[in-house]
C-alpha cells in the first residue's frame, strides 16, 4: 500500500456541552449504529490502507471501548494493523499531547517504522466518505508537498467555524485561516491531508523543536509559501460534528435516501463494531414513520422523523418526533418527546415530557431519569 493513516481523535470540543462531557467527539453515536470515527476509519480501510494510527486524548475511554478490536474494520492483520496512541509517561517526558503536530511527534516511531511513501491524515469527528486513492492521485498530479481536501460551504452553513482556504487558479493554496472573522472565500478545509511520510517527519520535528505544536497553524498556514500546498475539491456528503446543532442535523440527514445510499447501500460500506442485537421489533401499537431504527429496538409507541439507536424501548401511546434516541433509551407509556437528543440509557418514566425547539434541541444527559 502507498499510504499509512493517522486519525486525529483526541481533541476537545466545548460547543457540544453534555454530549461530550464523558465521551470523545469522535465517539459520538451517528446514524442509529455508527460512531463518528467509523467514517474516517472505514474510509481508510476501504481505500486499501491497512495501517492506521488513531490518536486519542480527551475522554479516550469511550473511543478505546469502541476500538477494542481492530477486526471489525479489517485491521486485525499482521501486515499493518490498528494502532491506538494515547499520551503516556516516559523517562524524558510526562506531558499530554500539546497539539495535533505534537501528538504525531510523540508517536514518530510509528511513521519511522513504516515504509509507505504517503501519510493520510484525517480528523476523527467528521462524517464523510472519500476514496483516499483519488486524493493521492491528485496530489501526485499536482506534484504537491501537501494536499488538503476542501469543500465549498453552502450559504446556509456558517463558514466562520471552519479553516478557510484561499486558492489560486491552479488550486494552489495561498492562504489558510482558522475560524476567521472576515472569511475571504467559501472554501473550507476538511481536515483531511495527504503528505509524504519523510516530509511529515521532517516538518513535525522542526516545528516541535521551535515550540510549535499545531498542524493547521504551524505547519500548513505557516509553510504555505515555502511548500507547494494544494486544495483537492470534495463534493460528496460531509458534516463536521462541531456543535449540538450540526450533530442533530447530521443524524437527521440519514433520513434522506441519498445519504443512506451513500454510506449504507453502495459499496464500500461504513463498518462498525457489531453488537449482535436481534431484529427490531414493532409491536401491535407501534406507529413508526420516517425513522431510522437500530437493531434490538422494541417499539410500542409512535415515532416520526427520529433516529432510533439500538436497544431503544418505547412504550404504548408515547409520541416521539424530531428526536435522536441513543442506545438503550427507555421511553415509558404516554411520554412525549419533541426536538430532543436523549443520550444513552436515558429513562423516561410513564407520562414524562421532553420538549425542545427546532433551534435548540433539548438534551437529556446519559443515564438520566425523567419523571412526569
Amino acid at each position: 500500500m502507498r499510504a499509512v493513516g493517522i486519525i486525529l481523535a483526541g481533541g476537545k470540543n466545548e460547543r457540544m456541552g453534555e454530549l461530550t462531557k464523558t465521551r470523545a467527539t469522535s465517539a459520538l453515536p451517528v446514524g442509529s449504529c455508527y460512531r463518528a470515527i467509523d467514517f474516517p476509519l472505514s474510509n481508510m480501510t476501504n481505500s486499501g490502507i491497512n495501517k492506521v494510527a488513531i490518536i486519542t486524548q480527551h475522554n479516550s475511554r469511550s473511543l478505546h471501548d469502541h476500538l477494542s478490536s481492530p477486526k471489525w474494520w479489517d485491521l486485525g492483520s499482521k501486515q499493518g494493523g490498528m494502532f491506538v496512541f494515547s499520551p503516556y509517561q516516559s523517562g524524558e517526558n510526562s506531558m499530554w499531547f500539546r497539539g495535533t503536530a505534537d501528538a504525531i511527534y510523540q508517536n514518530l516511531t510509528y511513521l519511522r517504522r513504516s515504509n509507505e511513501p504517503y501519510v493520510i491524515i484525517s480528523s476523527g469527528d467528521c462524517v464523510y466518505k472519500m476514496d483516499y486513492n483519488d486524493l493521492i492521485a491528485y496530489h501526485e498530479l499536482k506534484n504537491a508537498d501537501i494536499t488538503i481536501a476542501y469543500r465549498q460551504v453552502p450559504d446556509n452553513d456558517d463558514i466562520r467555524q471552519y479553516g478557510v482556504m484561499e486558492l489560486d487558479a491552479a488550486e494552489r493554496m495561498t492562504d489558510l485561516e482558522e475560524k476567521p472573522l472576515e472569511p475571504q472565500s467559501d472554501l473550507a478545509s476538511l481536515g483531511v491531508y495527504v503528505i509524504s511520510r519523510p516530509l511529515l517527519i521532517e516538518l513535525v520535528e522542526t516545528i516541535v523543536s521551535e515550540g510549535r505544536y499545531d498542524i493547521v497553524r504551524d505547519m500548513l498556514s505557516r509553510y504555505r509559501k515555502r511548500l507547494r500546498i494544494y486544495g483537492y475539491k470534495y463534493t460528496g456528503y460531509w458534516r463536521n460534528l462541531g456543535s449540538v446543532h450540526s450533530y442533530f442535523d447530521c443524524n437527521m440527514d440519514f433520513l434522506r435516501r441519498d445519504v443512506r445510499n451513500d454510506f449504507m447501500v453502495q459499496h464500500p460500506f461504513i463498518k462498525t463494531k457489531p453488537k449482535d442485537e436481534p431484529p427490531a421489533k414493532y409491536n401491535n401499537m407501534a406507529h413508526i414513520t420516517n425513522c431510522l431504527v437500530g437493531s434490538g429496538a422494541i417499539l410500542n409507541g409512535g415515532a416520526n422523523r427520529c433516529v432510533i439507536f439500538r436497544k431503544v424501548y418505547t412504550g404504548e401511546h408515547s409520541s416521539v418526533s424530531n428526536a435522536i434516541l441513543m442506545e438503550g433509551t427507555y421511553i415509558g407509556n404516554n411520554c412525549v418527546v419533541e426536538h430532543a437528543i436523549l443520550d444513552k440509557d436515558v429513562i423516561l418514566h410513564n407520562g414524562a415530557r421532553v420538549i425542545g425547539t427546532p433551534e435548540s434541541p433539548a438534551v437529556v444527559i446519559k443515564g438520566k431519569e425523567v419523571r412526569a
Binding site: 433520513l255 431484529p279 421489533k281
Partner: protein, 429 residues
C-alpha cells in the same frame, strides 16, 4: 493441541427435504431464521455461551452457504488459536473415500479430529432446532450422576409424545428403554438429539458399531447398543423453548413465535445472545407512509409499505403501497409497489414486481408435493422472480426467474408450481 475437557460435534450435513424448496440449494442448518439468523446460529451460540470453545461442524449436503456463513468462526468468537471452529467435510482416505452415511458414522470418520484434543467428554449436537441451552449445566448433571451418556430430554404434552423418540426412565432419570414414535408412549420425555458422551466409551462404541453397521446412527444403533451393554444413560431434563423447524409449517410457526408481543422465546435478553454473521448491519428505515405492526425487521431494510405479523430479513425493500402479512421474507428481497403478500415464505434475493398478489385463493394442497405444501403457505425459492401484476394462489412453489409466459392469464392457481431452476445436485425442488 491442548487438552479440552469437552468439545462439540455439530451434525450439519442433513438436507432437510421436508423444507422443500428452501433447502434445494443449502443445507437445513443454513436456512435463515428469525430475520437475521440462520438455524445453525442457535447451537453455535449455545456452545460459546456455555464455554465450549471447540466445535467441529460436520457438513455434507450443499455446504457452500454454510461454509461461507461459518467462515473462521468470527461471529461466535470461535476464531481461536487453540480450538475454535473446524469444518469437517467427508474426505478421501488412503483405501477409499465415502460420504457420511449416518450420524454416528460421521463422528466415526472424524475420530482423528476429536483425538487431537483428547477430550474427556464429547457433546453431539444437531443443526435443526431453535433453542437456548447452557450445555455446561448438562455437563454438571453428567458428572454428578457419573453418566456414561446423558441425553437432553424435553417434557412434551402426552398426546404429542408419539411423534418423537421417547425415553423411558426410572425415578432417578436413568434411561431403561428407547421407543421411536410409540403409539402408546410410556413416558412424555423426548430425545432432543443432544448428547454428552464420555469420549473413551463413545470412541470404543463407534469402532465396534461401525463393523456391524456401515451406516451407523446414534438413535438406531449406537445408543441402543450402549444401553444393552448396561451403560449409565441418563435423561437430562430441559425446560424451555425448543422447536423443531423441520417442515414448512413448523418453520413458519417457529418464526411467528418471535413476533408475539412477549415472545416465549426471547432474543432481547442481555445475556446468552445469539450471534450471527453480520458484517454489514446498517439500521433499517421506516418510510413516511409505512405501517409496521406485530413484526420483526432486520437491519438494512427500507420499508415504505405496510408489514403486519411478519418476519423480515436484512436489506429487504418493501415499496410504497405494498402490503405484507403473515409472511417470512429473507435477506435482500424486493417487493414492488402495491404488491400484496399473504402467508408466504420468500427465500433470499427474490424480486417481486409491482401490483402482484401472492397467497390468494383456496387452500388446495400442492400437486407434486402435497405432503410438504399443504398448510396454505406459498414458498418462493432463492433468487426467484415474479413479474408485475400476476396472481399466485396458496401452496404454490416457485423457483427460478419466471416471466409472464410461465403464467396462464397472469395467474397461478393454488397448489401449482413453477420450477425453472434445477440445482447442481440435479434434485428438483
Amino acid at each position: 493441541m491442548r487438552k479440552k475437557e469437552m468439545i462439540a460435534m455439530l451434525l450439519a450435513g442433513g438436507q432437510g427435504s421436508r423444507l422443500g424448496v428452501l433447502t434445494s440449494n443449502k443445507a437445513k442448518p443454513a436456512v435463515p431464521f428469525g430475520g437475521k439468523y440462520r438455524i445453525i446460529d442457535f447451537p453455535m451460540s449455545n456452545c460459546v455461551n456455555s464455554g465450549v470453545d471447540t466445535v467441529g461442524v460436520l457438513t455434507q449436503y450443499q455446504p457452500l452457504q454454510l461454509n461461507q456463513h461459518i467462515g473462521i468462526g468470527t461471529p461466535w468468537d470461535l476464531d481461536r488459536r487453540n480450538g475454535g471452529v473446524t469444518i469437517l467435510a467427508p474426505h478421501m482416505k488412503t483405501e477409499n473415500g465415502e460420504w457420511y452415511s449416518g450420524t454416528a458414522d460421521a463422528i466415526y470418520q472424524n475420530l482423528d479430529f476429536i483425538d487431537q484434543y483428547n477430550p474427556e467428554y464429547v457433546l453431539i449436537l444437531g443443526g435443526d432446532h431453535i433453542y437456548k441451552m447452557d450445555y455446561s449445566r448438562m455437563l454438571d448433571f453428567h458428572k454428578q450422576n457419573k453418566c456414561d451418556v446423558s441425553i437432553a430430554a424435553l417434557t412434551v404434552p402426552w398426546d404429542e409424545a408419539s411423534r418423537f423418540g421417547v425415553m423411558n426412565i426410572h425415578d432417578d432419570n436413568r434411561i431403561y428403554e428407547f421407543e421411536e414414535k410409540p403409539p402408546n408412549p410410556k413416558s412424555n420425555f423426548i430425545n432432543m438429539g443432544i448428547y454428552i458422551f464420555r469420549w473413551s466409551l463413545l470412541r470404543d462404541a463407534l469402532e465396534r458399531d461401525n463393523k456391524i453397521h456401515p451406516d451407523s446412527d446414534f438413535g438406531k444403533h449406537v445408543l441402543p447398543m450402549m444401553l444393552n451393554e448396561g451403560k449409565r444413560m441418563f435423561a437430562y431434563p430441559f425446560s424451555g423453548y425448543w422447536k423443531d423447524v423441520g417442515t414448512v409449517d413448523s418453520y413458519w410457526m417457529a418464526n411467528m413465535d418471535l413476533i408475539q408481543t412477549v415472545p416465549e422465546f426471547n432474543l432481547y435478553e442481555n445475556f446468552d445472545k445469539i450471534y450471527t454473521d453480520s458484517d454489514h448491519q446498517p439500521p433499517l428505515y421506516t418510510g413516511p407512509n409505512a405501517d409496521i405492526k406485530g413484526s420483526i425487521i432486520a437491519e438494512g431494510c427500507e420499508i415504505l409499505g405496510k408489514v403486519y405479523n411478519s418476519v423480515i430479513g436484512p436489506e429487504v425493500i418493501v415499496e410504497d403501497g405494498a402490503v405484507i402479512s403473515d409472511s417470512i421474507l429473507m435477506e435482500g428481497c424486493y417487493v414492488g409497489k402495491g404488491t400484496v403478500i399473504e402467508k408466504c415464505i420468500i427465500d433470499s434475493g427474490c424480486t417481486i414486481g409491482d401490483g402482484a398478489k401472492l397467497g390468494m385463493g383456496e387452500n388446495i394442497p400442492n400437486e407434486y408435493k402435497p405432503s410438504i405444501y399443504d398448510t396454505g403457505i406459498t414458498v418462493l425459492g432463492e433468487f426467484s422472480n415474479i413479474p408485475d401484476k400476476v396472481e399466485i394462489g396458496k401452496n404454490c412453489v416457485i423457483y427460478g426467474k419466471t416471466d409472464l409466459t410461465d403464467y396462464k392469464d397472469s395467474k397461478l392457481e393454488s397448489g401449482k408450481s413453477i420450477v425453472k431452476q434445477v440445482n447442481t445436485n440435479g434434485v428438483r425442488a
